[in-house]
Amino acid sequence: MIIDPAVIALFTGSFLVSLIILIASWLGLQIVMFWNLQCGSEKQLELEKWTYLVSTLMAYAFGFEILSLFLFVYTTDSLHNLFIGAMCAAGTLNTGTFGYHTLGIKILILILAGVWLVMNHVDGQAGDYPLIRKKYIFLLVIAPLVLLEGFLQSAYFLSLKADVITSCCGSLFSSSQTYGESPLSLMIGFPAGYLQAAFYGSAFLSSGLGFFYYRGFNKLGWFFTISSTGFFLISVFSLISFVSLYFYELPTHHCPFCILQREYYFIGYLLYGMLFGGVISGAGAGILSPFRKIGSLQGPLPIVQRRLTMTSLFLNFFFVAIVTWQMWHSNLVIDR
């Protein structure tokens, strides 16, 4: 294991976030089981008070999850010096076990927690808490993932071992150990031509669906959710497969982490921020569409959905625009 201030911070963070998620889901479970708005019992009044606590806990947990993703990527990047052959976060994540699993689950939790907060916000807009059971069941789905994240992250950091000088022969021999194939290499191997078509195709499809959904074609809700989630996944693939090459201006450099560095003007933060914002608002907007039929939501829900759809369309549009501009103006020219 590597004892580093940032690793200790991540351990502390994941322990504390797991703790508040556990409290929130225990309260959520009580609410799912005993909620009855018609009843004026003391228990019901207590449950109503608990909803405030759960919302606050989740808002904080979500905030810390965003920071934790940032800190995790940054920490793995700064630890690369300790391993032979690792040049940035990509190498460090490949070094121990569960590196990429931890990253993946952190991203998943971030998206799910974002959608949960959207749902919670909508629920608060109506006076009679129409989504209360659904959102707390959803919370009970997120909670095990947060615990799993804590476990995977701990397992990952515990499995790391720095290649330092040993008394016999330097650390030379430790470099012979193999770390298995990185998931990145699988993405790199995907034919870039097809992926480019899929990238622009899904951007076009998702914005078309979003546009019509915004204009009131309510039945497209689920399609919009699926298409914006699809666009997110394809964009991440594309970023690794061909977009990154134009930022680095190197035909062999596919790293999804180096664009976060100063050398590339921290453009990665903007790009990833737009992708996450786009998928959370897009998925949130669509998922909410079945609830339009609920009486108390008929007023506030369409307004929230329109805002979310607009946000998602804007963020995805600017993402595609920046990427295309870079591909167009980059000094790298790839003849296919």
Binding site: P5, G13, L67, L71, S167, G170
Partner: protein, 377 residues
């Protein structure tokens, strides 16, 4: 815009309510600042000293080849250098002479090196500022060094190294090769170790494998390995210090929890009145969150500023011996100030996150007070 306006009113209200109870809050802010200060000093110092080590090692050779005899480092025959020169990709191979010298008068260990640079006169030495301080010697003075045969040889101090290079040169005495061999009794055919430069940085590992194949009784040490070892050592030290301070963080959390739960009758009545005039529980929670955030951010900022001054302007007086290690001749150096978002996020996770989590439930309990029962107190 409406949202921002709303939050501004909340902040306004939170600030005035904190000011009204400043006696209660000041103790919290002081303890909080102290905790941030301690942790930030450790984190800043480690990062800065790691960077310093990187800068220092930039000028060091790519590969150092040492000879091992029965598991111990031994003098390396000069003919080994000829073998090493034959390896493709190696641009320079040099024998090095260096030794440790214990000076009984000042009870300190010095590093004595010899360079083949022209103009290195026999009978003269150059010394680092640390040596000059502990030997009370300056330019033009004579110093005596005890040789391998027990006799003392005197050398004239020709000059001292500039204080800018003190991190590497503090304990250094530099003399000519002939003087060195005479002083320590090392024959012409031997060196302490051999340094190599490799043209292509990516070939260093391959070259060192070849070294091991050609000369099996040696160990090649790569510069990257030294860097890695330094990084791990400093990270480990600071990590251990942080773990030791976990106790104080826990004590602080209990203190914060206690402060947050022990609401005065006046505070309860205030919340009761707010709820009676139409605030709902959610709004009181927002108000309480702002109060927590204001305390957190001001203490965090103050703690970081104090730590910055402590580490970069006061040479981190408090933690210096633990983090740097210690020696009689220790370099005096000032670290280059630098802070990045990574360190700030690490510190946020170690201080603000636990504080916030410790105070969520107490603030919710406070905001869930029924107005009538609160006002009846």
């Amino acid at each position: 815009m409406l949202w921002i306006e709303r939050q501004r009113y909340f902040i306004d209200f939170a600030l005035s309510s904190l000011m009204r109870r400043w006696r209660k809050n000041i103790a919290l802010v002081i303890v909080y600042t102290l905790v941030v200060f301690i942790l930030a000093s450790i984190v800043f110092f480690t990062q800065a000293i790691k960077r310093e080590a990187c800068t220092v090692l930039e000028g060091s050779p790519d590969i150092i080849v040492q000879r091992l005899v029965a598991g111990r480092q031994d003098l390396i025959p000069a003919r080994y250098a000829d073998e090493l020169r034959k390896i493709t990709g190696v641009s320079e191979v040099r024998g090095r002479l260096w030794a440790y010298y214990f000076d009984p008068a000042s009870s300190a260990n010095y590093t004595v090196i010899s360079t083949e640079r022209p103009g290195r006169d026999e009978g003269c030495v150059l010394m680092g500022q640390g040596v000059a301080r502990s030997m009370h010697a300056g330019k033009g003075d004579l110093i005596a060094i005890r040789g391998h045969d027990g006799s003392y040889q005197s050398f004239e101090v020709k000059d001292t190294f500039s204080s800018g290079s003190e991190l590497v040169s503090a304990d250094l005495i530099e003399m000519s090769g002939k003087d060195f061999r005479g002083l320590f009794g090392i024959q012409e055919a031997y060196f302490t170790d051999i340094t190599m430069k490799v043209r292509n940085a990516q070939e260093r590992t391959v070259v060192s494998r070849k070294v091991l194949n050609i000369l099996p009784d040696t160990r090649p040490i790569l510069r990257d390995e030294i860097l890695r070892t330094y990084e791990t050592a400093f990270a480990w030290r600071s990590g251990i210090l942080l773990i030791i301070f976990t106790g104080s963080i826990l004590a602080f959390l209990i203190f914060a929890w206690d402060k947050a739960t022990s609401l005065s009758i006046e505070e309860k009545r205030e919340i009761g009145i707010l709820k009676a005039i139409g605030w709902d529980t959610g709004e009181v929670i927002v108000l309480k969150s702002w109060e927590g955030l204001i305390i957190s951010l001001s203490s965090f900022l103050a703690g970081i500023i104090f730590a910055y001054i402590h580490v970069f302007f006061a040479s981190s007086t408090i933690f210096e011996p633990v983090l740097k290690g210690w020696a009689v001749v220790y370099p005096r150096f000032r670290l280059v100030p630098s802070i990045d978002p990574y360190q700030i996020t690490t510190l946020l996770f170690l201080t603000v996150l636990p504080y916030t989590i410790a105070t969520i439930i107490p603030s919710w309990i406070a905001s869930a007070i029924e107005p009538d029962s609160a006002m009846r107190l």
